[in-house]
């Protein structure tokens, strides 16, 4: 009995050590990569591309479903982005509210007889709208039968006339120079590698004030849940993705904001309808396609905060979101199981996929098993309590250290939270996160796995308050997530 318990504890302990080592290694690589990025970037003048005839054309594709309350402002914000050669394609995915009417009246839209090529199959297109006002000549609205986010994005991809496409959530606020920064990795290569995708940092807008689509004040959210997610996003984006990009193992570019080579996206078959994690699945499929066709490529990531989004501030919505993410992860891993430890796919197969499988998919299961196991041992009086608390402290102090390193990275790079009180609020969240937030996230992930076993497919509901606007006393609104989830920070 004791021997069996010993073996189980050893396995859990070794897993724990592995995950800690992996996190620290990724953090170190990210930090180094960021330093290199900032040094190189200090010689970049983004404004030169603003008036250049060589600026490649871009399409911004936003799917929208029942976004009536914010859709007009969001489109205006997108049209005001700094870039000289882009189009905004908004796909109204069968909204049942007055989204389309609002767009028609505010942007002087007229239904046009424009044929959309069917590179990718989608639900029926009901109409294509263009503005009669030259000020909105960049705008195209596609009205279609509801088919979900992936289907709407595919319709936007069909309608795009540019070489590069960026798919963004309609309610995200982009930095005005976001497109300038995102296109650069596609243009700066001097080797034969083709850049197939580029992603940037997504930050949390809860607590920030946004006026006319621009972020005017950045603050740490007042309530606990969004504030902990700030930490989570900083950790993931600053201490994780940069390292994966450097290792050429990037598996996920947030659905909230990513720029893609349209040619490859279409050759891969566009967004899939088979998973709720269509953003991650697309990146994996694109990379797989390039490997299978023996084309040299790269998927890049830049550490600049380019996109601001609102995150859930209630346990119910957060739980639904996280269980959806975990379902999406499993679905993607399952679709691409052929990559697992397959040397044909290089680092994608030998490093990224196994990491994702072990530390993203298995971690919640191992944690949950560990908790259940602890209760059983406690019941059987088989716990060495001194050692138990020692191990608990070991994990807790590591979690604190890792979060502190993330805050340090943020301070040294972007220093977005300038007030000292914001810093202390973050520290307070660092101390509480492992005890309250993390167990809840593990529980939600397990709920997602169980949901998947029982065939759950829906997006669930997401309530948004509308960032910054709540301070002006505007009402809250609810929308069904046929449209847009928050970007994953994992």
């Amino acid at each position: 009995m004791i021997l069996t318990l010993e073996i189980i504890i050893w396995i859990i302990f070794v897993f724990c050590l592995l995950i800690m080592t992996a996190y620290l290694l990724l953090a170190y690589l990210s930090y180094k990569a960021m330093r290199v990025y900032f040094t190189k970037n200090s010689f970049t003048n983004y404004s030169i591309i603003l008036n250049s005839p060589l600026a490649p054309p871009l399409s911004l594709i936003s799917p929208a479903y029942n976004e009536s309350k914010s859709i007009v402002d969001n489109v205006r914000t997108q049209l005001a982005l700094h870039y000289n050669n882009f189009e905004v394609i908004l796909v109204n995915d069968g909204s049942t509210d007055d989204s389309l009417q609002k767009l028609i009246s505010n942007f002087h839209l007229e239904k046009k007889d424009i044929k959309i090529p069917q590179h990718l199959p989608t639900k029926e297109i009901l109409g294509v709208y263009k503005s009669s006002n030259p000020a909105y000549k960049r705008l195209t609205i596609i009205d279609k039968v509801n088919g979900g986010k992936s289907d709407a994005l595919n319709a936007g991809l069909n309608a795009s006339t540019a070489d590069y496409v960026t798919c963004i959530d309609v309610d995200c606020v982009l930095e005005q120079d976001a497109l300038l920064k995102m296109i650069k990795p596609f243009l700066e290569r001097t080797d034969k590698k083709r850049v197939i995708a580029s992603g940037g940092v997504v930050r949390i807008a809860n607590g920030c004030i946004i006026e006319n689509g621009k972020l005017v004040k950045i603050e740490v959210p007042k309530s606990f849940l969004p504030r902990v997610q700030v930490l989570e996003y900083i950790r993931a984006f600053l201490l994780g993705r940069m390292a994966w990009s450097r290792l050429d193992g990037l598996l996920l570019i947030s659905g909230a904001f990513g720029l893609f080579d349209k040619d490859i996206v279409i050759k891969c078959g566009g967004y899939t309808l088979k998973t709720v994690s269509e953003d991650m699945e697309l990146v994996v499929r694109m990379r797989r396609y390039m490997h299978e066709n023996k084309q040299e490529y790269i998927a890049t990531y830049i550490p600049d905060p380019l996109c601001w989004t609102e995150v859930p501030d209630s346990y119910k919505i957060l739980g639904n979101q996280r269980s959806r993410w975990s379902r999406g992860n499993v679905e993607t891993l399952w679709i691409h199981k052929g990559i697992f430890f397959n040397p044909k796919y290089g680092r994608l197969g030998m490093l990224s996929y196994p990491y994702w499988f072990v530390f993203e998919f298995l971690a919640p299961i191992i944690e949950a098993v560990g908790i259940v196991f602890t209760f059983i041992l406690a019941y059987l009086n088989l716990i060495n309590w001194n050692f138990f608390f020692l191990l608990l402290l070991f994990v807790y102090t590591f979690a604190i250290l890792f979060s502190m390193l993330a805050i340090m990275a943020e301070e040294e790079t972007f220093h977005e939270y300038k007030k000292m009180s914001d810093y202390f609020k973050l520290i307070y969240s660092v101390l509480l996160e492992p005890t309250f937030f993390h167990p809840f996230i593990t529980y939600s992930a397990i709920r997602g796995y169980i949901g998947l076993l029982f065939g759950k497919k829906s997006w669930g509901k997401m309530t948004r308050k509308g960032f910054g606007q709540k301070k002006k006393g505007e009402e809250e609104f609810t929308r069904t997530m046929a449209g847009t989830p928050n970007p994953k920070p994992v």
Binding site: I2, L5, E6, I9, W10, F13, T39, K40, S42, F43, N45, I48, I49, N51, S52, P53, L54, A55, P56, D163, K184, F186, L187, E188, R189, T190, D191, D263, N381, L382, I383, N384, W385, N386, F387, L390, L391, L393, F394, T397, F398, I400, L401, M404, L405, I407, M408, E411, E412, H415, M420, Y423, I427
Partner: protein, 292 residues
Amino acid sequence: MTAVGIENSINYPFANHIETIVVFSILVFTYSSLIVFLSVIILRMRKNRYDKHAEIVKSSLNGILMSAAFASTDEELNDVLAKAKTEFTRQVKNSGMALVMIKEVLTIHSSLSGQSKNNLSRLFQETNLMSYTLRNLRNENWHVKASAIRVLAQINAETHIPKIEKYAVHNNIYLQQVAQIALVNLKGYDGLDFLGKLKNALSEWQQIHLLDILRRLDREKAPDFSQWLSNKEDSIKLFSIRLIHFFQQGYNSDKLEEFTHSKNLALRNEAVAALEKIRPGVHFETSNTVKP
């Protein structure tokens, strides 16, 4: 601390083995977290202090720069320069402040023209800001070198062009790009000479940069850009076609026609686009051209 601390607790040999490591790790994690916590506070305080100091330096510098820029006689300028030399010598000892000062001089320099601009160039060259910049040009770090090159270009230090030229084909791609931009800024069209010596590709981003500078120059003085059409590097050929296109060098259309059969899709498309523009009325079959 023992592994069997609480009465009736079970004793695992495993726990005894690793207890010391775990305790040590907890201490390391805790102290490291504390160090990071304090470091952030110190970092913030240092940044605040630096910003305040920079503001003071800027405001004191501003008076000198304005006096130099708008000095009406040589004597007046010499007086200001003498004062600047004393003031700058003290400040340039601090590398951070030297950069603040250079940035400030360049900002004002770029907003001026004529004699005032020349006065500021002279102030830069005759004070130790120039020696500081040239010292940076000899630095081993590529980014320090690149910063110095950029400063020399911004201050129109034409006498130092030979020092910059060797970096235009340097192995470090970033240093190379900064030097190329500096040379075109300083020498105009003649600055493109590096194209004939370049061994690597010219990125799209760099082409955008160079074109941005070239389009501000006198079109009448533009050289024959077809000289790089025979370069081994496709990206340089592409850039030449784009230049011929942008500068409407119709006399090169025969040379461009050869590229309409190129195996390289980007070259083919660019040649067709250029020909349609510089030879109005002539339409090329584009059925075999696809977007790159």
